[in-house]
Amino acid sequence: MKRFLGFVKKEFLHIFRDIRTLIIIFGIPVAQILIFGFAVSNDIKDAGVAVLDLSKDEITRKLTDKITSSGFFKKTEDLVNYSDIDLAFKKGKTKAVFIFEKDFGSRLLKEGKATMNVITDASEPNVATLVTNYSMAIAGDFNRELSRNSLNGIALVQPEVKMFYNPALKSHFMFVPGVITLILILICALMTSVTITREKEFGTMEVLLVSPLKPIQIILGKVTPYFLLSIINVVLILVMSWLVFGLPVKGSIVLLMLESMLYILMSLSLGILISTVSKTMQQAIFISLIGLMLPTILLSGFIYPIENMPVIYQYVSSIIPPKYFITIIKNIMIKGTGILFVWKETLVILGMTILFIFISVKKFKIRLQ
């Protein structure tokens, strides 16, 4: 036990002495959360819109207010006629123009319908789609209010789209679980494989092997510090996403932490496995980055939905561990479900962990070569 603690202490010293390791462990999670949360956001916020109101009545004014007060749009300017539209787009700040036809209000009251045109700047297709969807939603909402207040009491039936779990379609709700998944596997697998191969490269492994330390002691000594730091990392990410994005954990925090620990364990054993097959640090880094980071980003359902992938990729996806953890963590964090809904995924990760540990201990060389 004393030997083991001495080893763990040494590993902690390595970590805290090396600024690069610290950056990878604590800098990257913070950066990733912020980058994915803000920069790679699929939301629109304060998108510039111009209004061409050819009717200028009470209803169009109300509708304009509703649009610009939604938080999604911000009015850039009022246009006077159609020829201004092109110019407004060219200035660059305007992403969409709302046009109310002539006699909008009176037509709506008399004929029951009036036309609002939405013209979007499709040179940014993503934004254009979002703007269209959002303005449709706002218009629909407006219709509903209008019919509820109408004197004749006829309520127009509006197609109602209600989004569960993420009603505001906030994309960082989707990104945070993905980022946790990515970061844990990256730090655990990359750092453990690098730290073990570093001993091989610097020749210190030779001396460790010619010591009474058992392979399991070396492995556990290497892994323990990263296990503890990774748990701190999970807490850090959760607290940060709560403070910055207001993302709550709907389900049980205890369950979430337990599942995270299991996943950390799986990633660590994967890292040991990588170290047993790589001779140099470079090799270990290469395998971890190409072999783990890319599949996690592309195939785990982190960014691209698995259902939309070609069948062959779906099969590949089902053998990469992050896929299961993303499912678990999304369930717990966003839907608030309990272990009953994620036990299958949990078992898969548990099985993988046992398999990786088994192979690693078998493959860990008690000699050189």
């Binding site: 004393k2 030997r3 603690l5 001495g6 080893f7 202490k9 040494k10 010293l13 390595h14 002495r17 090396d18 610097f202 020749g203 210190t204 030779e206 001396v207 460790l208 092997l209 010619v210 010591s211 009474p212 330390l213 008690i366 000699r367 050189l368 070569q369």
Partner: protein, 304 residues
């Protein structure tokens, strides 16, 4: 007296290269035993087999009567190993390195301090310094302290003096001599032939084979010819010229002179006139006693 190491018929191949070819030798207890040989002779491979890190293809090595392959667990408690590259953690301080190795071997620095005190006092003033910032000589002393900290019965030092300045090299051998009284068997490899005289016995190893094993003075006395030291200002041309001389067997640079052996074991006028024709006129030739290096060179260049 029990033998510390008994090796018989040890061979090891890496692919098609033969690193060790049917090697046998014994090392007595408390002996300082040297392996002398050029780079690539197989010294490191041999040491890795002795330290249980490699399995020989053929042959058996017993350390204190325990087989290195089957009894590796037992042996690893009793071996202190210092690999060719000083295996220190560069980002840990002197003190931290020593403490780490002490705990790994289940002991404390205090417990065995008397064993390393001679060595460690040299580097103790720098105990807070990171190992990566030490000079070669200090690294070597720290690595030796780390290898000794658990009081091993066998100390294995792979080229401990390579890359270390001459003064530190000499100091290092003094330290090894002092360790004798602690009843520790030491095997040490080196490419420097002059260090052979500091060992109790040496084995000359070349291309995976042991050419000779004996006490250094006995090896030295085996020199079979008369040896002449030839001096000239133009040393470089001198070697070339001497090697062209038909009576020459060997001509090796040695310090500021050239050591020469001749077929008829005597210097005559024809050599002087030969050298003069080659443009070297200031030669001084004297007969000189053969050193151990001369004997090694003779052995290493013996035709098969």
């Amino acid at each position: 007296m029990q033998n510390a190491i008994e090796a018989s018929g040890v061979s090891k191949k890496f692919g098609s290269t033969t690193a060790l070819d049917d090697i046998s030798f014994t090392v007595g207890e408390s002996e300082v035993f040297g392996f002398i040989g050029p780079d690539g002779a197989g010294k490191t491979t041999l040491f890795r087999i002795i330290t249980t890190l490699l399995i020989p293809d053929e042959g058996v090595v017993n350390v204190f009567g325990t087989n290195t392959v089957t009894g590796y667990r037992e042996l690893r408690k009793n071996i202190g190993y210092m690999p060719g590259r000083f295996s220190l953690y560069q980002d840990l301080s002197v003190e931290e390195n020593l403490n780490f190795y002490a705990t790994v071997f289940g002991t404390t620095v205090k417990e065995n301090y008397d064993l390393i005190s001679d060595i460690y006092t040299h580097i103790e003033p720098f105990k807070k310094r990171l190992a990566g910032q030490l000079s070669g000589g200090m690294k070597q002393k720290l690595a030796l302290s780390c290898a000794l900290i658990h009081k091993p019965k066998l100390l294995v030092l792979d080229e401990p003096t390579t890359g270390v300045d001459a003064v530190s090299r000499s100091e290092f051998w003094d330290m090894l001599s002092k360790l004798r009284r602690h009843n520790i068997t030491i095997i040490v490899s080196t490419p420097y032939m002059d260090e052979a005289t500091r060992c109790d016995r040496v084995a000359l190893i070349q291309a995976g084979k042991i050419l000779v094993v004996d006490k250094p003075e006995i090896i030295q006395s085996g020199f079979s010819r008369k040896l002449f030291a030839v001096k000239s200002v133009m040393k470089h041309q001198l070697i070339g010229a001497l090697r062209k001389y038909p009576e020459t067997i060997t001509a090796w640079p040695f310090g500021d002179s050239v050591h020469l052996t001749l077929r008829d074991n005597k210097i005559d006028q024809s050599l002087y006139s030969f050298l003069e024709r080659e443009g070297i006129s200031d030669t001084v030739i004297i007969e000189t006693p053969a050193g151990i290096e001369d004997r090694f060179l003779e052995l290493m260049n013996k035709p098969e």
